[in-house]
Amino acid sequence: MKDRETDEKLWTRVVAAFLRIPTRPSSLETEAFVSKVMARLERPAPAETPWFATGLRWLVPTVSFALAVSALLITRPDPMLTPPEDIALLADGAGVSPQASSPTTDDLVAMVMER
């Protein structure tokens, strides 16, 4: 019982030291406050940004990047269609024999006639 009373007394000290009631504003302060709040209510709300405008924030860089990638893909030659540069050079030179051409109809007729 005594402990409880002591605790209550100590708690009263804590409240008095740390949880004091703040000073009441004067009527002048209240009127100034009311004016501030009412002025903020009367201020027009900022115009809402349309969804496509907010979307453009990320859409512009995304589309630009996609266009750049597409342009690169279109202008870049297909590595499967064109031989690498060193092989092409070799093909032009003597190092590699030109591919044997397939026999034409005249050649075949000539061979038959010879026999």
């Binding site: 002591t6 605790d7 007394k9 100590l10 708690w11 000290r13 804590v14 409240v15 008095a16 030291a17 740390f18 949880l19 004091r20 009631i21 703040p22 009441r24 504003p25 209240t30 009127e31 406050f33 009311v34 501030k36 709040v37 009412m38 903020r40 209510l41 009367e42």
Partner: protein
């Protein structure tokens, strides 16, 4: 007492605001300014921050008034808006808290003893007010709010439960824990005063 024809209670003012009467809202602000500012000041400490917070509370209340059905009193409803707003601010402050409770007690022990021994009617100086805020900042936001609503605002358990959107049992438990923990932290300084 209002003049003849003027609204005498909040309910009438609220219904006038709901039908587009902005002037009635000015009267509501005038009536409830003192305690809203008091709640914000007690929870946030800094008077400028409290003034800004009180403005925000009234702006939020104005925006939400069309949805206010009158299930509780306007004052209780406003307490909930104010408590939520202040709790949000306290939580965001708590995230960037730098001073620990132990550091504070170590550095300001003598000052805390002086503060606890001070008569309740003696004015706090600037340094005292600053220390009070530093001590209260060390409390979890929920505890600080429940203690403010009970000890500073003088709300009963039901009103606190509505303001904090929780059950009556939860209010009692939180309040008990908040008092016990706060007193426990200060026990070292309180024991000499008990002698």
């Amino acid at each position: 007492m209002g003049a003849p024809g003027s609204p005498t209670d909040d309910t009438e003012l609220v219904s006038r605001v709901q039908t587009g009467g902005q002037d009635a809202f000015a009267e509501l602000v005038r009536r409830h300014h003192a305690w809203v500012l008091g709640l914000c000041a007690a929870t946030l400490g800094d008077r400028t921050a409290a003034d800004d917070a009180a403005q925000e509370v009234f702006l939020k209340a104005y925006k939400s008034l069309p949805r206010f059905k009158g299930g509780s009193s306007f004052s209780t409803w406003l307490h909930r808006i104010a408590a939520n707003h202040c709790l949000d601010l306290l939580r965001s402050r708590a995230r960037r808290k730098t001073e620990s409770w132990d550091e504070l007690l170590e550095n300001e022990g003598e000052h805390i003893i002086r503060l606890l021994a001070m008569p309740p009617d003696e004015e706090h100086g600037l340094e005292d007010a600053d220390l009070v805020q530093r001590v209260l900042t060390c409390l979890p936001p929920d505890y600080r709010m429940v203690l403010t609503l009970r000890e500073v605002q003088g709300l009963n358990y039901d009103e606190i439960a509505t303001a904090m959107d929780c059950s009556l049992d939860s209010v009692k438990a939180r309040l008990q824990r908040a008092r016990r923990d706060f007193a426990e932290c200060l026990r070292h300084f309180l024991e000499p005063l008990n002698v």
